[in-house]
């Protein structure tokens, strides 16, 4: 395979996949949690008939809309790029992998895009209950969408319900695929993560306005709803993450060992956990490390004596099983990405617990000394998601489908030039999108609510005057 500046088509295609997926993932979890928060706010508004709350719903709806637009359009790329850059992969897994993607479109995308339009533009054209139902349907759609896409990803990491026929994976048991234990754990993890993304954003916006005494009664409500969501989300992320780590020891031991930079299977009666390390693939060891005893055993097995296998032993096992080759993921990015994710998860839990405590103390309206932290907290879940994806996707290399297909065998026969050109174009467009999204979100969030919140539609609502009436 020829190269360009030392990068092969494989390198560039992987980089492009990472780029388009991670950028897309800045917008998607946001909509998962945000739709739910807005649906709750609108339910409160519907039940109380409080115009302040209706305004609040429209205000956050506007922010949702700004973000949703970018989420939809970057999602189209996801649907095409498996065929464009990964022809070997599509040929091998289309029978199985294509199905959840198709179900995602059939069950979720149409639902979201149609009912969001109905909710946003139809505010004055639908009865209140239908408007409320629309936003709940959008929230349902985002959740269903997340479920199918994670199911597809989980199959790559833990293939089930398949047989190999003529060199391709074919589906034999749809039920096994739908109930893939990996998928269920990950769905819980990612969905909770989605809650935190939106929750900390709504918290920051609400705190900003509470601090400035704008519409205090309304923003107090959104602050409370977001705070509960943040608390549930961070608890869920941590609990599901713990379960996932333990199943990784069983199903993807190589990845787990990379998470912990565990090169050699521990020899003692327990497994320590590394706190800080400088892993080196070249030396097949850590150049430096600080470990704590027993913690590794507890995290991996919930006991004080369990031991996971080290990278070097697994490499030997894989070479015996799959033939000679290098089966080690690139350890340091996996190790550090994993640690950043865990650290940020802890931080999110601390911050939401702290503000819940303040709420109990009756000091909700005053964001307190942690106010500056609260304003930058929306970055934390994004960064945690980013590192989580890096850890899990780099951690499973060199496999694109665990144990069945290597990434190197999955890539399309494109020239590196072709991929580099598209990669550059995607970077330019995606950086512009992020910039615009952040700019518009900040601008709209700071502007706050207008009375009434009608003059902020993204697309002008159609102006339906009766035929012949003067405009």
């Amino acid at each position: 395979m020829n190269e360009l500046f030392g990068f092969s088509t494989l390198d560039l295609s992987r980089f492009q996949f990472a780029t388009t997926s991670i950028f897309h993932y800045f917008f998607v979890p946001f909509t998962v949690g945000f739709a739910l928060i807005i649906a709750v706010l609108q339910t409160l508004a519907y039940r109380s008939h409080d115009p302040k709350l209706e305004n609040l719903t429209r205000f956050f709806g506007h922010l949702f809309f700004i973000n949703f637009a970018v989420g939809v359009v970057t999602g189209i790329v996801q649907e095409f790029q498996f065929g464009m850059n990964w022809q070997g992969f599509s040929n091998f897994v289309g029978n199985i992998f294509g199905v959840p993607l198709a179900l995602e479109v059939l069950m979720a995308f149409f639902l979201e895009s149609t009912f969001l339009g109905l909710w946003w533009f139809g505010k004055d054209r639908l009865p209140a209950w239908a408007s409320l139902a629309s936003i709940w349907i959008v929230a349902l759609g985002t959740t269903v969408s997340a479920f199918w896409i994670i199911l597809a990803n989980a199959w790559m990491q833990h293939p089930v319900g398949y047989a190999i026929k003529n060199g391709r994976a074919v589906m034999t048991d749809a039920w096994a695929i739908v109930t893939n234990p990996k998928a269920l754990e990950w769905f819980a993890h990612l969905w909770s993560g989605g809650l935190t993304v939106a929750a900390f954003f709504v918290l920051a916006v609400s705190a900003y306005h509470l601090r400035r005494k704008h519409n205090v009664p309304a923003f107090r409500v959104s602050f409370k709803v977001a705070l509960l969501t943040a608390l549930i989300g961070s608890l869920g992320v941590i609990a599901a993450g713990h379960v996932q780590g333990q199943s990784a020891v069983r199903d993807q031991p190589m990845k787990y060992a990379a998470f912990s930079a565990l090169w050699d299977t521990p020899t003692g009666a327990q497994m320590p956990e590394s706190l800080v390390a400088l892993p080196s693939n070249g030396a097949r060891a850590n150049r430096f490390e600080v470990t704590v005893p027993y913690v590794g055993s507890f995290l991996a097995f919930n006991n004080l004596s369990g031991k996971a296998k080290g990278l070097n032993d697994l490499q030997k096992e894989y070479a015996a099983k799959y033939g000679p080759g290098n089966y080690l993921p690139w350890v340091w990015p996996v190790y550090w990405a994993f640690r950043v994710m865990v650290g940020l998860g802890g931080l999110m839990l601390l911050v939401s617990a702290y503000y819940t405590w303040r709420w109990r103390q009756g000091r909700l309206d005053d964001p307190g000394r942690l106010y500056p932290l609260l304003l930058v907290m929306p970055l934390a879940p994004h960064l945690a998601n980013f590192s989580g994806w890096v850890a899990t996707e780099m951690g499973r290399q060199p496999w694109i489908v665990q144990g069945l297909l290597r990434t190197a065998d999955a890539v399309s026969g494109l020239t590196p030039q072709t991929v580099l050109v598209s990669l550059t174009a995607f970077w330019v467009v995606y950086l512009t999108l992020i910039g615009l999204d952040v700019f518009l979100l900040t601008r709209t969030a700071r502007a706050g609510m207008h009375e009434p919140e009608v003059e902020t539609p993204s697309v002008p609502a159609p102006n339906y005057l009766p035929e012949g009436a003067a405009p």
């Binding site: 065929g83 294509g98 034999t172 993204s458």
Partner: protein
Amino acid sequence: MTADLPTVWFALTALTFTIYFFLDGFDFGVGILQPFLARNEAQRRALIGTVGPFWAANEVWVILAASVIFAAFPLWYGALLTALYPLFALILLALIGRGVAFEYRSEVDHVRWRLFWDATSFVTNLLPAFLWGVIMSNMVRGLPLGVGGRFEGHVLGAFDLFTVLGGLATLSLFVLHGATYLLLRLHRGSTLYLRARRAALLWGAAATVLVLAFVYVGFVRSGVFNSLGLSQWLFPAAAALNLGLVWLALTLRRDGLAFAATGLTIVFSTATIFLSLYPNVLPSTLGEAYTLTVRNSASEPYTLRLLSWVSLIFLPLIIGYQGWNYYVFRQRVQERDQAIPGGGSGD
């Protein structure tokens, strides 16, 4: 034609593309026509308002088309998308730009901001409208595919007289379809409506010429349409007749008929493409052995059966609520002369 599962799914793929071209076709058309029809901010807003609540759901049909090919015909999916990689990359970038232009143009009240998005919208509607035709005609003509569907050609090979005519045909058809859509969505007798009518007449002429030229070249050149069999002239002729019907409807001032006729032209044109493909999905120009057919590129029956059951439940549901969406926003759009700084008072 035996009604086996791969054939059913081939037909469903064709159906999905047809619905996509029908629905997003007028979105593209409105986007391309906007700079020609709207002279001031109120008119631009009115035009965007005609597709505002609909474009996102219309666009989802192309995502469905891609995922249907992926799930039902994985080899077709991989070969087509890899072989025409640069064209698909351009379409994706354009669809991104178009969606963002729709949503962000009114977010900031500034002339240059809106000007930028209007220009983006024009280009990003134009590109896919042209490229979809190029892609479809490449599919019919065949691609240099080798062992395992591996592409052995060059990017520029995607463009020749036939495929460029195909691109121009879809472009003009979509613009025409957009124009007749506007006749249904704007108040009769308004300035915009009258301009849309003129555009429909003009683009109707252009589309007739281009579609006929495309079909003629298709029959003459290596006879790509000949596999239609006995009915080989049926669908192209129906498409051409419909274009004639557009003129009749415009003359009779029957807006609904005009829109139905442009829509049917798109339906017949897409049917021509897919019927001339069958039983292949992607012919190889390097040898018949490498040609991808409905049979050799389809998923296993188990997968197809599963997809069939799910689609049987969800497709009618989708068509139902999407139809309801159009019903909720069925009234014609009126331009509103609101005070917009820099918007100009217009004509």
